[in-house]
Amino acid sequence: MTKTSLRNWRDRGLLKTLQTATILGVAFAATASSAFAAGTLRIGMTASDIPLTTGQTDQGGEGQRFMGYTVYNSLIEWDLSKADKPSVLIPSLATSWTVDPADQTKWTFKLRDGVKFHDGSVFNADAVVWNLDKLLKTDAPQFDQRQSAQGKSRIPAVASYKAIDPTTVEIVTKSPDATLPYQISWILMSSPANWEAQGKSWDKVAQHPSGTGPWKMESGFTPRERAELTPNKDYWDATRMPKLDKLVLIPLPEPNTRVAALRSGQVDWIEAPAPDSVKSLKDAGFAIVTNAYPHNWTWHLSRVEGSPWNDVRVRKAANLAVDRDGLNELLGGLSIPAQGYLPPGHQWFGKPDFKLEYNVEEAKKLMAEAGYGPDKPITTKVVISSSGSGQMLPLAMNEYIQQTLAEIGINVEYEVMDWNTVINVWRAGAKDASAKGATAVNYSYFIQDPFTALIRQSQCNLAPPNGTNWGYYCDPEMDALFNKVRTTFDAAEQDKVLQQVHEKYVNEALFLMVTHDVNPRAMTTKVKGFVQAQNWFQDFSPITVDP
């Protein structure tokens, strides 16, 4: 059936029921993608600029999503092909990795053979070493401060590395650390030959990048306005060959501008539509795609002396006084009410005893046991942001929490700061003057791997200035669990330890656990074949766009 005939048929109004339309639409899309050009996908990002194009991206998770795993590859990547379960690590430029049983700091990575960069040069072990030097070795000629700022802190475990043969790399960690594969998954490989060809200038590389990824950026890059990616026809993984003709990235930080751009047909897809625009977008015939992903929205509680949160009864009471369903309503249904620190169904969730529900009576009882009540309330201060990446609707949500906490005798005052200032406060720790005496900070965590998810905020020796244990929480039992995580090299066994960690997180109500974002995206119904993985990152290869 040709395109025209279908359109005519549709115009005659023969397709009445939604179901038929959908089935036929899908069938049509499948044929169209092989018979016709598969179209151009224009995406409105929330970032205010095109992420760094030279390799290691900036702009947080969004940068890695659109400019990282598209143009580049890492040794290890996430399996983004499934929507129904959390994604796991899979081989990419490395085909396998093993740790030396005798010396658990020594890792061997076997590299994929025959992979070429977009400029035609060969990817090998030297390229891996060259790329790690780019981030870690300040006196290397290819050292790039900007990429280093983004990449160095992703691989804290790495002590040294060397090429054994063209397809084998050895990495030695500072101490046994089973989380190394997660760390390595951040590190993207840019082409050494291309850097030479661009006169050893990263600024020039930014205009003419070269990676090994499924997408190339050859032209059409206007800083702050747009970047055009085209398929890499020689991609090493034929199953991930992009079907689209072109992927256009447009930075649109302002939520209303994103919605207007989608509705006026200037883009086909927008990231993070504001909850209040979702209904109108649905009414106007746009698809809203959501899925769980490893993100949480919490109050990180201070455990410094004098903080009311040192009493587990107060922590539990507060957790019972958050109307998570009400917040979900506020967010237009675009959230997953928290049942723990990690999203429900996560492989490390375990079976915590403490249930996060909205139970004001129980909360009041706990408060009374702790010696507080409506006539003797706790008054405390919390640092929150006005808006920011992963922060959802911080002002509205915190105002609502403020209302319900007041019911059980916790009077909260907010110190509203901009997101970057909040990040600074969070880095400096609860004892620092910048916290202005606050006993909690509202933070949204990227919780994709064991270190970023659970360890960095709760290990004793990661309290500021050594790390980001903002609240100075310290529990030898927890530290023992963390050590076990690092030294358990069997993935399934490691998961079990991580479940114990999470159970402890929830049972002791270490955080005020509120909600999880669902990473909403709005797109036209012409976008076909997108599978939203339960991940910060997504695969754009299978997507097609109807004309």
Binding site: P255, K279, S280, L281, E329, S386, L395, Y400, V416, D418
Partner: protein, 296 residues
């Protein structure tokens, strides 16, 4: 936006005022129905702001997510509810307070500081004048929006910071007007004579200068209030003004922005309030200027 300053106010002319001048102004003003109507609206808005706790039907900071974004005319919520289910009418009423404070307060402060700077510079003349006025020129060399955004952006959000930024924006504009009028007055024969007779500078300023200078500066300053209202709301819109949950029209416009597709009428209300207040200040200022312009 702040370009509505020196450009549209004709250079104030320092004509010595007769004793009956102000009653004449009042008389002429009373015959200008537009200015009177604008004044009446402004008085109502100010009264609403002052009486907010008595007339607002609900607490402006208490909401419920169940009844959020109700349309205008919902029973019990005459003007609907905002994105947190707070009563729009109550928020607009309370919003008048901070909006007026943010929009109006910088002008009288700048009026006092700017007038002092301008009068001192104009009266002293010579090197003092040059030093002061060159400094003023530096700040005057920034477009108002740019200066306000730059200062607020640097200082961070918050009511005080916004007030400081706006005041700094208006001081040089008022100082320039004050200086030019004072310089004209100073060169008038009888002021010269008073100086020659050895009268103290303070007395001369009080008797001869102030009476003639304040009028034109005052008219100029009233025209700045509408500019200030719009600038202030713009700062709030960019997230550089008042902090939530306080009600302020610019901020309400900002936070309601995402609801503009669901409930455009409610989302537009704060904009309407800014618009109405700003235009009334403009109309009144126009009327006042006409009433003070002896020629017409």
């Amino acid at each position: 936006m702040a370009a509505i300053t020196a450009d549209i106010v004709p250079a104030p002319i320092a004509v010595p005022r007769s004793p009956g001048f102000w009653s004449g102004v009042l008389h002429r003003l009373c015959r200008d129905p537009v200015a009177l109507a604008a004044l009446a609206v402004l008085i109502v808005i100010v009264a609403i702001a002052i009486l907010a706790p008595y007339i607002a039907p609900y607490d402006p900071t208490k909401g419920s997510v169940i009844r959020r974004l109700k349309p205008i005319g919902t029973e019990g919520y005459f003007l609907g509810t905002d994105e947190l289910g707070r009563d729009m009418l109550s928020r607009l009423i309370y919003g008048a307070r901070l909006s007026l404070i943010m929009g109006v307060v910088p002008v009288p402060i700048a009026f006092v500081i700017g007038s002092i700077i301008g009068i001192v510079a104009g009266y002293a003349g010579g090197l003092t004048n040059t030093l002061i006025m060159r400094t003023v020129d530096v700040f005057y060399a920034f477009p108002s929006v740019l200066l306000a955004v730059a200062l607020s952006g640097a200082l961070g959000s918050g009511l005080t910071n916004a007030l400081v930024s706006l005041t700094v924006v208006f001081i040089p504009q008022i100082a320039r007007v004050a200086e030019s009028v004072t310089t004209q007055i100073r060169s008038l024969d009888y002021v010269d004579a008073a100086r020659a007779s050895g009268a103290p500078a303070f007395t001369i300023i009080r008797v001869h200068v102030l009476g003639n200078v304040l009028g034109p500066i005052f008219v100029f300053a009233t025209s700045l209030i509408s500019v200030s209202m719009i600038l202030a709301s713009g700062l709030s819109f960019l997230g550089l003004g008042v902090r939530p949950p306080d009600a302020e029209w610019g901020l309400m416009l900002n936070t309601l922005r995402t609801a503009i597709y669901n409930n455009p009428a409610v989302a537009a209300l704060p904009g309407v309030m800014i618009f109405v207040t700003s235009i009334c200040f403009n109309l009144f200022s126009d009327g006042l200027r006409q009433a003070m312009d002896v020629k017409s």
